[in-house]
């Protein structure tokens, strides 16, 4: 049994601001059902740049529900500029603390807020720091910039802490050496007091193909198989990914929708934001 605070317990049983806002000014989704938690945040922002309403829908454990509720409670009534300053640490404080292993729930809240505000400003998500960059942890789709962000915001220094905050390294563990490299790199930067942004190089063709293949076989294929479907990777040209659907997927009237929603979303999440999926008949 987790040692949840009374505030956490109260908020997972009686969360506030549950639901959707049909005419929301910004909607952001982070996490995924495969990873075990996901949050969809809806914001209503008025002409004075004040967040007048916030609602959420969460798939996840007790602390994920409580963190989502806390996030909406913290931002309602705040200006966009004030809300921007809110980090996962504020969510943790509001809840009176979270178990170490559950810190990633608060990070998910922070991510959703950052993403929603960027969407509201009309900034393209391609520039969004959390979803861009090289995927370090393939089990949970955690990128290099996100790991660096939580290191800086929470003063982390061990792989275990990174896992608690982002889940990275908590699956197969094969990325742990790379996480160690990132920690060493950030600590070095910190000691040099340099605040230069990490290099953001676009993926090379080979790397992109590898990532596409990996995502299809480890994430998408298992999902489709559940409904008796199969997917085959035909080709990758730049940001265009050609796939063929077999089994029950091929005859399904919804296959176009399935493709768009599922394959593209996954590839955009795990590979690159501008991936376009095309069905090869």
């Amino acid at each position: 049994m987790w040692n949840y605070t009374n505030k956490v317990k109260d908020l997972y049983i009686h969360p506030k601001n549950v639901g959707s806002i049909p005419d929301a000014d910004a909607v952001a989704e982070v996490g995924s059902i495969v990873c075990g938690d996901a949050l969809k945040l809806y914001l209503k922002i008025d002409e004075n740049r004040i967040i007048t309403d916030a609602k959420f829908e969460t798939f996840g454990c007790g602390s994920a529900i409580a963190s989502s509720s806390a996030l909406t409670e913290l931002i309602i009534g705040k200006t966009v500029e004030e809300a921007e300053k809110i980090t996962n640490q504020d969510i943790v404080s509001y809840l009176g603390g979270l178990p170490d292993e559950k810190m990633h729930c608060s990070v998910m809240g922070g991510e959703a807020l950052t993403k929603a505000l960027k969407i509201w400003r009309g900034e393209t998500i391609e520039d969004e720091e959390d979803t861009e960059g090289e995927v370090i942890c393939h089990c949970f789709g955690v990128t290099d910039p996100l790991i660096r962000k939580v290191i800086r915001e929470n003063g982390l220094s061990t792989v275990e802490e990174i896992t608690n905050y982002t889940k990275a390294g908590g699956g197969c563990g094969s990325c742990i050496p790379r996480i160690e490299d990132i920690i060493a790199d950030e600590l070095k930067k910190d000691s040099m007091s340099a605040d230069a942004e990490p290099d953001k190089k676009p993926l090379t063709n080979i790397k992109r193909m590898q990532l596409v293949q990996e995502t299809i076989s480890t994430v998408i294929q298992p999902e489709l198989q559940k409904d008796g479907g199969q997917i085959e990777l035909i080709d990758v040209e730049g940001n265009k990914v050609f796939v063929a659907l077999r089994g029950s997927c091929a005859n399904c009237m919804l296959s176009d929708v399935t493709l768009k929603n599922l394959v593209e979303d996954r590839l955009r999440e795990f590979v690159e934001d501008d991936i376009e999926v095309i069905e090869a008949k």
């Binding site: 049983i13 549950v18 798939f59 699956g171």
Partner: protein, 397 residues
């Protein structure tokens, strides 16, 4: 909390009142050491041997001395493997399954790092062992085979008799982890043809801190702990007399109640399972429907997460468990469900209900009356369910 409906009996069970009663003198007045020469201690040894006989009868062992008392089920599992390997030093291969308890699986992972070759036999979508794969894996280098009788998460029963007969013809030692089968289905070491078999007291209404390793007469095994002469030198350390007396009584009781598991407990399990599967379109059974111990059901709920289901049930006084990642802190869902190929989407929302003979039909009705509110509330919270309602199509992501 006024009411407690305890449906987590695969985790641990209530110590039966008769067991407590029989243990009490050994926690109070009769504290002697069975190894002592004086009668105050020595007479306690008679009770230890009585318990040994009861356990032997419970599993159909031919001789009482084939029962070795240990500290826990985990210790028995470790002793079975490490003790066999210590004897067959030139053999470097072990066969087990992908769905074993960590007491076997984590040990095998460690042995693998130490240079042993391990075969992890896969299971199918219903959790049933791939027998062809198993038989192909056996070779001259195989030191020991360890397969669980029944799985702790799904309750699925393995074909241990078939495996035992196959291995006996080849002279390879066979260990059966029967921790989750004991008390739920009849166990007979001679029809299983096993050489080693593990039991744990607290899984069948005995106390915690007492395990059994059955060692068939003639089975080659070296001790793992080194010390005194107790348990014929196979497991040194002063006997846990209250625990031994307790597991003896618990074994005797379990023997008399095992038929009720096949009838009454099974009926209630089926009532619960049927009630849930009929009620919720997003629920489905994990594990072979027919080939299970009668007290266990493992149900996956799509679009909602296991830990939150447990926390909501807990508020209503219902204790169950989950194979979800979040409830264990491991970040990945249960290795058993993943080995079965259960999609992550529903593995995260899997709930295990495990009954005991102390559960009533009224308890089950109560759970069935509470569950809809819990599931509907969590679906309301879920972004995936919302998406389905809006688009009118089932989406898995």
């Amino acid at each position: 909390m006024d009411r407690l409906v305890y449906l987590d009996n695969n985790a641990t069970t209530m110590v039966a009142p008769e067991v407590v009663e029989e243990m009490m003198p050994f926690l109070t007045t009769r504290y002697g050491n069975p190894s002592s020469i004086h009668s105050f201690g020595g007479e306690v040894g008679i009770d230890v041997e009585k318990a040994r006989h009861r356990v032997a009868e419970f599993i159909g062992a031919d001789n009482d001395y084939e029962i070795v008392f240990t500290g826990t089920g985990t210790e028995s599992d470790n002793m079975a493997l490490l003790g066999s390997l210590a004897y067959y030093r030139d053999k470097r291969h072990i066969i087990t399954s992908r769905v074993e308890h960590p007491a076997i699986l984590s040990l095998c992972k460690k042995l693998e790092r130490d240079g042993y070759r391990i075969t992890y036999v896969p299971v199918d979508r219903e959790g049933i062992l791939d027998m062809d794969y198993f038989m192909d894996a056996v070779d001259d280098d195989t030191a020991v085979v360890s397969i669980m009788y029944a799985n702790n998460e799904t309750g699925v029963i393995n074909p241990v008799s078939e495996i035992g007969a196959f291995l006996r013809d080849r002279g390879i030692p066979f260990h059966v982890d029967a921790v989750q089968a004991a008390g739920k289905i009849p166990i007979d070491v001679n029809s299983i043809h096993c050489d080693l078999l593990t039991l744990s007291g607290h899984k069948f209404h005995g106390p915690k801190g007492i395990g059994v390793l059955y060692v068939r007469r003639g089975t080659r095994i070296r001790p793992v702990l080194i010390g005194g002469h107790q348990e014929r030198g196979r497991r040194p350390g002063t006997e846990n007399v209250p625990g031994i007396v307790g597991i003896g009584r618990a074994a005797e009781l379990a023997g008399t109640h095992v038929d009720y598991y096949g009838t009454g407990v099974k009926k209630m399990r089926d009532m619960l399972e049927k009630g849930i599967l009929e009620k919720f379109s997003n629920a489905h059974l994990n594990g072979s429907p027919g080939n299970r111990v009668p007290n266990t059901t493992n149900i996956g709920f799509d679009y909602i997460e296991g830990e939150s289901i447990l926390l909501y049930l807990n508020e209503k006084g219902i204790a169950a468990s989950s194979g979800s990642a979040c409830s264990s802190g491991s970040l990945e869902p249960s290795h058993v469900l993943r080995a079965m190929g259960v999609p992550f989407t529903s593995a995260h929302g899997s709930i295990r209900f495990s009954l005991s003979r102390f559960i009533t039909e009224d308890d089950i009705s109560y759970v069935l009356s509470v569950l809809p509110g819990v599931v509907e509330r969590l679906l309301e919270l879920s972004p995936y369910w919302d998406n389905i309602n809006r688009t009118g199509k089932p989406v898995n992501i």
